[in-house]
Amino acid sequence: MKTLLRSPALYIAIAVVIVAALLPLWVSAYLLGILTVAYYFGVFSMAWDLLFGFAGEVNFGPTFLIGLGAYTAAILDNEFGPPIVVCIMAGAAVAVLGGLALAVPALRLSGPYFGLVTLVAVLLLQNAIVIFAHWTGGEIGMTVPDVLSIDTNENYWYALAFLVVCAILLFGLSRSAVGLILQASGQDRIEAQALGFNVTKHKIAAFCISALFSGVAGAMLIFYMGTASVDTVIDISIGVQVIIAAVLGGRRTILGAALGSIFLILATEFLRPLGQLNTFVVSAVALAVILFFPDGLLGYVLRAGERE
């Protein structure tokens, strides 16, 4: 605790959060809208980083968990219209069930095989949504009757507060004993078991936690946007964006994943004048970062600090 209070990083983080919270005072509503989405994506990426960076599970389908949370909340809201909190909690619960469903193969399979199962899970969910178009709106998507708020600033603060809370929880978790055990079992499962840690229990926990955060963030995102569609919460390209953001920001840093997401979404937005090419440029930058700074942006800064 003492070292934490003395570390300059903590004060930088607090300063950044304060500046971010004051942004609505001078930033346009348009930019705030983009940042709001970026903050939710930050949570997606952090949840993914917990699973990949720490538990060592290559999850190609973050949108499976996100989509389960988002669509459960949206369908519930459309059919029965309970308070938003209830919808979000239901979304989170279903996402955790989805996380458990993914955890079962993860305990048996390794590397590319598990990656493929997660990819297939996304494709199946996407197909299921098209088949049950009666409830889900199919390929077009569905509108959600309730929204978090109609005020841009309030929406922005909700997203920011949510991001900060998730960041503190996930970062704390990753630095706790549980995080260390996860990291150990991700790197060498047998040795971690030999040291007496229950790897299975910890991995299942990692999946549930990652699913919980993904599901809540997915549900909140649709209550911000007022619509749920395959293209915004489930499509593989969304999952790719989450993964790229986490790798770009730096694996095993949690906070890097959030920074990576914000950077990625802002960069895509500022390059919009390039038309179709903006995705190309952003992917090229991400590829260059992976080739030249494989530790990611935050990882690189941290390493540089260690070397000095």
Binding site: L109, L116, L119, V120, L123, Q276, L287, I290, L291
Partner: protein, 291 residues
């Protein structure tokens, strides 16, 4: 009647799937690379072939050839710009090379997809059939082009088999897939073998891309879908096993055709996906895979 129709249509599409997945599994078997830009390379071959055949006025056959060459070039660019730098990088820990190659090729695939759409077109491109006309097989109306495609696929697969099993260069490939270290100790240069396998890969992906354009049409947007189906066929058959992929391609191809004809065309991909999940749960190494 419908049964025969399924048998014939399913055969053509399955042969194409087999050809598409073959290169993917070969690269994994020999050099351990899972190339997620696979669909992008197929799309490059298809779009360039279509462009050469149509706009440049080279005709269908020369256009096809140009498309295959484009696939070959794209494969080499992928190898030198993405795969080699990741494999050689000292900043990337050995045990994480795999995830870096997956992410790197994924990004590269997106760049190809967007680049193609920007430079040329994002509409599906369709090559003119290699031969025109229809014929009747036991009363089922079949385009001659469909037969031609199945024949070409099998000729290419046959040539690949001859190359791998009957030539010294092919035997080196086989050895590299079994024990690369042993091969190095015998004095063979692994990097030259990798160059060779990427050349084969480029040609296979190129032929598959061009034929697909002539059969169903290919758009830059379908690159991801193409990668996903090659990936699932290869996993179903067993990563790195060429004959396993061949069997899996037919299982998937027929399963999709049967679903499309007998149940509903919209449900086409679902049974194959469910089968894939089932196989991965019960027998993760796939039909003929080694662990």
């Amino acid at each position: 009647m419908v049964g025969l129709q399924i048998l014939i249509d399913g055969f053509a599409i399955s042969s194409l799937y087999a050809l598409g997945a073959m290169g993917f599994t070969l690269i994994f078997g020999v050099s351990g690379v899972l190339n997620l830009s696979h669909g992008g390379i197929m799309a490059i071959a298809a779009v360039i072939g279509w462009l050469a055949a149509g706009d440049l006025g080279l005709g269908t056959y020369l256009g096809t050839l140009v498309g295959v060459v484009a696939g070959l070039v794209a494969a080499y660019v992928t190898y030198f710009m993405v795969i080699l730098p990741i494999q050689r990088s000292r900043a990337i820990p050995r045990d994480e090379t795999e995830i870096f190659i997956l992410t790197g090729t994924l990004l590269w695939g997106i760049m190809i997809q967007v680049g193609l759409a920007w430079l040329f077109t994002d509409n599906p491109v369709t090559m003119r059939p290699l031969i025109d006309g229809v014929t009747y097989i036991a009363g089922v109306r079949t385009p001659k082009n469909e037969i031609m495609i199945a024949v070409i696929c099998w000729v290419v697969i046959g040539l690949l088999w001859l190359l791998v099993n009957r030539t010294p260069a092919g035997k080196r490939l086989l050895a590299a897939s079994i024990n690369p270290r042993g091969l190095t100790l015998l004095g063979f240069d692994l990097s030259r073998i990798y160059l060779f396998v990427w050349a084969i890969y480029g040609v296979l992906a190129g032929v598959a891309g061009v034929l697909l354009a002539s059969f169903l049409g290919v758009s830059s947007a379908s690159a991801g879908q193409l990668t996903a189906s090659a990936f699932s066929i290869v996993v179903l058959g067993g990563l790195g096993s060429v004959s396993g992929s061949l069997i899996a391609a037919y299982v998937v191809g027929y399963l999709e055709t049967i679903t499309a004809y007998l149940i509903a065309p919209t449900l086409r991909p679902i049974p194959a996906l469910l089968l894939l999940v089932l196989v991965v749960y019960v027998r993760p190494q796939g039909i003929l895979g080694r662990r």
